[in-house]
Symmetry: C2
Subunit: 437 residues, 2 copies
């Protein structure tokens, strides 16, 4: 299928002019070749998807998820971060075999695509990262994935690795997967957080990532307890530690950033480091509220993510987008993060965090065909007003009707085209039964 026409929708381009158009979005060989107006296929090898009555927009980009955690959905409610990690998540990750990791990855990718998320920055666990890549490959999602790196002495035994093996395993995964599936899959180094890594590992990740042109995905400043432990070890805060170790830059995406000083925000902005805001997760783990308006005012690039199923408990980009739009207004005023701004965080902001700002995040000629069509007929969207308002406040993941990635239809009329949903469900349920007998 070399041409794809998403026909006859209202098009929220999210281009620099914020244009709202009507008509077709056409893709050829995976790239967008026309936005708006009427497109006539130039070959006999084409597919037309009816988008009448839908809002056609770029797919959501989530810059912080843990697809491998999905089997622990609902198993870790009402806990604080360190209890959640030590009591449930690390034991869960340590108990995963390849089959369970693959089941979790497929389940997550399927949920994400059905809900209109077309690209993710994903942190796997220490082992079985090949299985996550395979799941992403099969599902058709665009994914930048990294194995979690954990070589600190107090890491639980089931996950602890040596510095050398952590780097060697990352090397192997880069060779195997970075640029795979026509560059739909990429690698990112994923040192879990400062506390799970030795200085040596963090320093080497900083050097290697620059040398190889591979991004870094990590966590920082999520929780006050974590920050206190970082201060005990380094005598300074996360972002200063990252600066010392060579871990800041436009190639770095840090999840959370809930408790940052003005100086840390300035350093993030100066270095071009990205922050991924995860509002549901931060609230559920009682971590706090990331001051997104202050980050934006300081010039920091911000994206949005659902984090993992055990701290959310969905992987729903629309839910996170809406919560981000609502959460900061009472502290900063009702005009804070208005609909267009928050919709851009969830699309262009995510694209920038993945290093793909030139390829995805808006519907513009030359970008990749990562496109979703939102059904405007459900009553919770009636009557329809501004497309920005629809996306920010009213639309839901279940309204997503069609999804294309790289110009290939992966969800059509709410049905996943790449994986059999019943098989995905059965595999996940069966793996979860082994893990939580």
């Amino acid at each position: 299928m070399s041409e794809l026409v998403l026909r006859g929708g209202t098009i929220l381009t999210i281009d620099p002019q914020h244009r709202v158009l009507s008509g077709d979005v056409a893709c050829k060989d995976g790239a967008i070749i026309q936005v708006g107006g009427s497109y006539t296929p130039t070959t006999s090898d084409y597919q037309i998807v009816d988008c009448a009555g839908t809002l056609v927009m770029p797919g959501l980009v989530q810059a912080h998820v843990h697809t491998v955690q999905t089997l622990a959905r609902g198993r870790a409610d009402d806990l604080e971060l360190m209890d959640w990690l030590r009591g449930v998540i690390w034991p869960y990750e340590g108990s995963l075999d390849a089959e369970a990791a693959g089941a979790a990855g497929e389940l997550a990718c399927a949920e994400l695509l059905l809900g209109g998320t077309t690209a993710i920055l994903d942190m796997a666990t220490v082992h079985h990262t090949d299985e996550i890549f395979r799941a992403a490959e099969r599902s058709g999602i665009r994914a930048t994935i990294g194995k979690a790196m954990m070589d600190a002495p107090d890491t639980p035994a089931s996950l602890r690795e040596s510095t050398a093996s952590s780097l060697a395993e990352s090397d192997k995964l880069i060779k195997r997967w970075h640029g795979a599936a026509d560059d739909r899959l990429r690698y990112a180094y994923a040192p879990r957080f400062v506390l799970s890594c030795t200085d040596e590992l963090l320093r080497e990740v900083g050097v290697q990532s620059k040398a190889r042109g591979v991004r870094i995905h990590t966590h920082a400043s999520e929780n006050r307890g974590e920050i206190e432990l970082v201060r005990q070890r380094f005598g300074k805060d996360n972002i200063d530690v990252f600066a010392d170790l060579g871990l800041l830059g436009d190639h770095v995406c840090i999840a959370h950033g809930v408790h940052l000083s003005a100086a840390e925000r300035a350093l993030l902005a100066k270095t071009g480091t990205h922050i991924c805001h995860c509002p549901s997760s931060n609230l559920k783990l009682a971590s706090g509220v990331c001051d997104v308006p202050a980050l934006i005012a300081a010039g920091v690039s911000v994206a949005i993510g659902a984090d993992g199923a055990p701290c959310n408990n969905n992987l729903d980009g629309f839910l996170e987008l809406r919560l981000a739009a609502l959460l900061h207004k009472h502290a900063h005023g009702p005009r804070t993060l208005p609909a267009p701004e928050v919709v851009k965080l969830a699309t262009l902001g995510g694209a920038a965090a993945l290093g793909l700002a030139d390829k995805i995040g808006s519907l513009e000629v030359g970008k990749r065909g990562d496109v979703i069509a939102i059904d405007l007929s459900p009553l919770h969207q009636v009557p329809s007003s501004s497309p920005w308002s629809v996306v920010a406040y009213a639309a839901k993941a279940c309204d997503v009707r069609h999804v294309a990635v790289d110009g290939r239809v992966v969800v059509r009329d709410r049905a996943l085209q790449t994986l059999d949903v019943r098989t995905v469900r059965d595999r996940a349920v069966s793996a979860a039964k082994r893990l939580f007998p």
Copy 2:
């Protein structure tokens, strides 16, 4: 249809023992006669609804909505309360004719039922309240509705009424609708808020509501600007004003209560007055965060509501329930409002606020058959864990498969049985076009 069997689900009863059962929920002549086990109909006049693979639970109860505002969805984003009221909502309400009010009411009731809300406490506008009752009657929802009372001198002309006519119109509506549709419809006096009413009206509402056994539904302490205006007029805060005017008690439900002192909370608890927490609305209008844990600790009865479409922009009980579960943890700790507690606010808490604690809010023999069945197969709920966690954190309005009110099926396999959705949509779109040309 005298018997209804919701067959073969997992049953979250929300009874005093928090029992989770499996099997059938059976209703006869609108009342629940069996919960769990297998039920064999005793007459030939029965209906069986397959609930295998679903979670069967009491319908959600929203104790503060404005169905009449639904046509203004997406028309009042990013504004603070008083600007939102004066700039958009009052002009909108003032411009409504009977047809538009009816269209808004039908649209809202249909959205609510399709999303699993089976009962509401609804504030209409000053005029056309008959249309809202008719919409609720036709849709099959359980509704306690009141016309907004607005006799203060600075009320906009299109809504202002005399004290006498406000009371007389309420009287007429009580005679016509209180107890109608086999007691599915009830009346509640709805003085909009202190600032929109004269002291005389408020005092008379306090007297009349007790004399007639009719409830009161109002707003208070939503926004700091509003509180300041109340202080200027009375020299005291909302709840003290209500106490002076005879407007507190178990028959009163106050929406919001965002900014309350410890003394006000104690007075609410002592009098049995209900607070309806509207988390999305409070965040979107930048009003603040109602301290729900403090209210509960003080012994105040708390319910949940979506408020109106222009400040939400959905009428989705599951979205509000989840946000209520998340929003208070970072200030009070991760165990705050755990899943079972928040699910009870959205069911039993709402029932109490409507004065229907003995009739709805849980699945128990003798209560009315207000029951919903949530499809557990969507991938965002896989793997399933505790039913409480599913409802609090993972389930969505679009997962609601069947809905019964008073033992009558109003939604079956996600399709509304009482109104034609296409007609509801067309009527709403057409009315909205006249209002927002």
